[in-house]
Every structure is written in C-alpha cells, then in structure tokens.
Amino acid sequence: MKKEFKAIADIIPKNISVLDVGCGDGSLMNLLIKEKNIKARGLEIKEEYVKKCISRGLSVIEGDAETELHQFPDQSFDFVILSQTLQAFYNPEKVLKDLLRVGKSAIVSIPNFGYWKVRTSLLFFGKMPVTKTLPNNWYDTPNLHMCTIKDLFNFCSDKNIKINKIIGLNENRTSEIKKSNLERKNLFSKIGIFWLG
C-alpha cells in the first residue's frame, strides 16, 4: 500500500523519532528513513518479517503490540504509527491509549468499513465484504473489531483523544476529512489515516 505510506510520510516532520507498530517487512520505516531522515524503530509479531527487517539494517523488536508496548517508556517517540492493525486487536482501546503514551503523537490508519463497496457487498449480496483492503473471508480474517472512519472519529471524541488531522484515501486520491464532509468521505474513502494526540 504505497499510497498510504506516502500519505503517512507527508504528515511526519523530518529528523524525528518514530516507532512503527506492526512494521511488517519495514517498507514504511525504510521510506521514512530515506525521505525524512528519521530515527526508526519497529515492533513486529511475525518472525519472518523481523528477520527481513534485521537483514535490511532496520531495528525491529519481535513482539505483540497488544501485550508488549509497555516496554517502551512514556513519550519516548515523537510519533508512533499503527498501520491498518487497530481492528485486529482484542482491546483496541488499550492499544490506542498505549500508542499515545509511548508517542507524543500517533498515526493510526484503518481500512474503512464504511466504504461504499463494503456497504454494497453487505446490502446487495448479503455477504461479508472481500475487497483489496479487506482481503480475507469472514472465517479467516484477523480483524476482530472492524470500524468505519466515522466510528473512529466518534470514538476519539468520546474518549477526548485529540484529532489533529484525518486523511481519506480512495483509488487515486487523498483528501482531508473534516466534520463537515465526514458523511461523504466515510462513504468514498477506502482507508482513513488519523493523526492523533
């Protein structure tokens, strides 16, 4: 998902420190190091990704974000990034709070369950949606807590989490989401990127 990473990189200032939670093979970290000269660290649960990152010279800790974010001291990173995994945690609220404890800011992206293709799949075909951003079937999906851009927006308001910016991504465009255009963007964005804290 290059476009998403590009949009995240656009938010992040140069020469800062970033923790990428669920960093995968380290593509985003690499991009941020090259373009923004940041000090990057990763946390990743999959052993093979950890090894790949290590051999790319990236600093990555093998571990589960759900249980192991506690090892990072308070406010030890300028930014903490969580790309498209919030919905896969047992307790997304706890993870979100931990992200905002460890980072001075957090960037959280979600696959938007409010996207029109997702809605039509359920509405017209009566089937759980399988799309590019939601590629799994209902029985093998890692996603436990699917939500829409509007859901996360409301959640942040309820929990007094400060939203600095929301970016919506669809096929070829990125656009800023505000309260005024929330309903429309919630229908037409595949991915929502929240800059919090």
Binding site: V50, K51, I54, S55, G57, S59, E62, F72, P73, S76
Partner: protein, 396 residues
C-alpha cells in the same frame, strides 16, 4: 554414583598432555595493570587468543567473539589442542554466517580458563606451584577488561561487532556497558543481564560435584598431577541436561536402550541418555581443568549489570551508540525468552538501538552452537547490514 571407571585410566594422562601443547598457541602477555573486582591488582599475565580471517585496511571488519563457560579461543576449524571441531564452527568460517573471508574474527580464552590464559592451573610465580584456590575470584567484568587490552594490541579502535552466546552473551553486554565506544554493534545471544537463582543453583551443583570428589583436595590436585575426573564429569553432565530442552531430549533419546535389547538390572548405562551424559562427562575431563569450572561459574553467578551502576540497568546502557540485536531461543529454559526480553526492555528504556528476535526451535539453550538455519540467517543478515552502516559512518 557408579561411574564407568574402566574408561578413566586411558584418559588420565590426556589433560596433562594437552597442557604441554598449549606452548604453541597465540598468547599476549598483559602488562597493563588490571584492578580486579575483588580489589586485587594484577599485571604480567597471559591472555591466549586466536584470530580468523584478516583485518582490512580500514579496520572496520573486526568481530570479537566471546566464548561460553566451557569454550575456548578456538572458534572455527579444528581446535589444534583437542583436535576437535571449533565450538562455533557452525557459525564462523569461510562462507559461513560470520564469514571469515570477509570479517576478522577474534576470540580470547577467558581469564580463569584453562586454554592458555591466566587461570588457576597456571604456575604462581611466587610459589612456583599451580595457583589452585589461590587464584583470585574473578568476574565477567574482569574477563572483559582483560580482553579490551587485546584490541589495543591488535590495533582495533572500534569493533564491527561483539557477540557471544550464554556466558559469551553476558560478556558482550558487559563489554558494551564498560566500553560503550568500542563496538559498532553487539549480538548478545541467549543470556541475561544478571544470573538467575535457577542458574546459580545449577552452577552450585556443578561446583559441589567437583568439590565432593576426594581427588579435588581443596584444589591442590595439580601438584599431584591428577584431576578430580569423577566430580568434573558430573558437573559437565549437569550442564548438558540444562543445555537441551525437555522435548529435544525426549525426541533424541526417549527411553531408547544403549546397544541392548533389555534392561540389565544393574547401574551401568542402560539408557542412551545415560550413555550420552557419561560420554559428555568423560570426554570433557580430557580438556578442562576442574578449578576453572569453579572460577568461571562463580564469575557467571556474580554477574549482575544493574549492581554495577547506580540507577541500575538503564544507567548501564545510557548513552549507548551501539546497535544491539538480542536473540533468544523458544525452548531455552536456562536463559529464557523472558529474561532476554528483559534485556531488550532495559535497552529500550535507556533509549538504545535494539532489535530482538526469538528463534523457534526445540534445541534448547544449545541452539546457538548447532546448525539452526533460522538463527544463522538472522546473525548473518544483521552483521552484513551493520558492516554496510559502519563503513558509511566511517566515511562520514
């Protein structure tokens, strides 16, 4: 305990024969005074070492390997003293994970050891007799300080990497804490920042086995040119049990009998696992000094990095520029993943640059010594990428 005594006479002279062969190995006489943790000041002592590969012109390819409790400086190829394979032959050598065609690998025998470095079997110049228990009680920090002098001698300002498993990993951590500017990266493998109660207990078992052997004679056996072989062999057996995992041991031996169809209703080695332990025990006494086991296990037990620094572990790793890769093995019950992760947490809390990987394996603590492809791939990937970074940093 009934031990296989028929086996012993043939080995009786071997240890002493090996001692004579130690004359031909590389030794550095350390003249720089070393103040030991026990407050004794020492100088003019030998540090035996070996190197593999060549130091390049830029001196950016040096890797210091620290050996574990019963290891020695002969990491790769054939050990010229024991004629057996080097203890880390799986990882170090031409074309291997730590490629000696590319890197300059250094390993020194720890002080307190018995492969040519200053240890309890060396002759005390004051008494003209082997030190025995008159050898000072040393620590991991003393061991590491002695090795720093070797780097000066070899003309290496900054290592590419410092690494080792088990006690070797503790030395790597100690080295980084004591000399934060002397290595670009470090791989502490299957170790901890302090010895756990369980590990102290197992070491105590090993020491008690040695000391319970009447031949040990309060450490004065060398004067009589004998070794407390039975005690030392039991000490080694304890070690070997702890290096394997329960599952690994069950799969390797199960209840299989040793070259027999049925029980013999005796105390000979009926089971393969007994035979294995006896073999490990009795081949060990050929090459190792019993007093060295006492001294080195003691050094491990005293190891506690947090105790050395006011403010604990975070202080120990403060201002670290070294890039760490901590590795644990899923079936290691001697230095568990939990303990290795505690090291990672401390490094994180100190703001150090740290990676961590747990290798999934049934091979227990011994995993770093055997052919474990995922482990070898991980260290190779790390060292090669660190070399690129180190070269770039030097260029800038």
């Amino acid at each position: 305990m009934q031990l296989n005594r028929d086996f012993l006479p043939s080995l009786a002279g071997l240890f002493f024969y090996m001692n004579e062969k130690l004359e031909n190995i590389k030794k550095l006489n350390i003249t720089k005074p070393l103040l030991l943790d026990c407050k004794q000041n020492v100088s003019n002592f030998p540090l035996a070492y070996e190197t593999y590969g060549e130091l390049n012109k830029d001196k950016d390819n040096a890797i210091l390997v620290f050996h574990a409790l019963t290891g020695d400086q002969f990491v790769s190829g054939i050990n010229p003293v024991t004629k057996k394979e080097g203890w880390w032959n799986t990882a170090v050598g031409p074309g291997k994970a730590i490629d000696t065609n590319k890197y300059f690998v250094i390993c020194a025998n720890v002080i307190g050891g018995c492969m040519g470095s200053w240890g309890p079997k060396e002759i005390n110049k004051k008494t003209s007799e082997p030190y025995g228990l008159n050898f000072p009680v040393i620590t991991i920090r003393d061991i590491v300080k002695a090795q720093e002098t070797l780097l000066d001698y070899l003309g290496i300002k900054k290592l590419l990497c410092a690494t080792g498993g088990s006690m070797g990993g503790m030395q790597a951590l100690q080295f980084c804490a004591t000399f934060p500017d002397r290595t670009f990266s470090a791989i502490p493998i299957a170790c901890s920042t302090s010895h756990s109660a369980q590990n102290i207990a197992l070491n105590e078992l090993a020491r008690q086995a040695v000391m319970a052997d009447p031949v040990w004679d309060k450490g004065k056996y060398l004067k009589k040119k004998v070794q407390p072989k039975n005690g030392l062999a039991v000490a080694r057996m304890v070690g070997h049990i702890s290096y394997l995992s329960e599952k690994g041991m069950q799969e390797k031996f199960g209840r299989k009998l040793q070259e027999k169809a049925d029980y013999e209703f005796s105390f000979d080695a009926d089971f393969q696992v007994e035979s294995y332990l006896r073999h490990q025990g009795y081949t060990f006494v050929e090459r190792f000094d019993a007093n060295s086991i006492l001294y080195i296990t003691r050094a491990m037990d005293y190891f506690d990095l947090s105790r050395q620094f006011k403010g604990g572990l975070v202080e120990a790793f403060k201002n670290q520029q070294t890039k760490f890769l901590v590795i644990s093995f899923s079936s290691d019950w001697l230095y568990t993943t939990r303990e290795n992760k505690d090291t990672v947490i401390a490094l994180n809390a100190a703001g150090a640059d740290v990676s961590f990987a747990e290798i999934k394996t049934d091979k227990g603590h011994d995993s770093f010594l055997v052919n474990e492809p995922e482990f070898l791939k991980t260290i190779k990937g790390f060292i090669d990428s660190m070399h690129t970074k180190f070269k770039n940093e030097k260029r800038i």
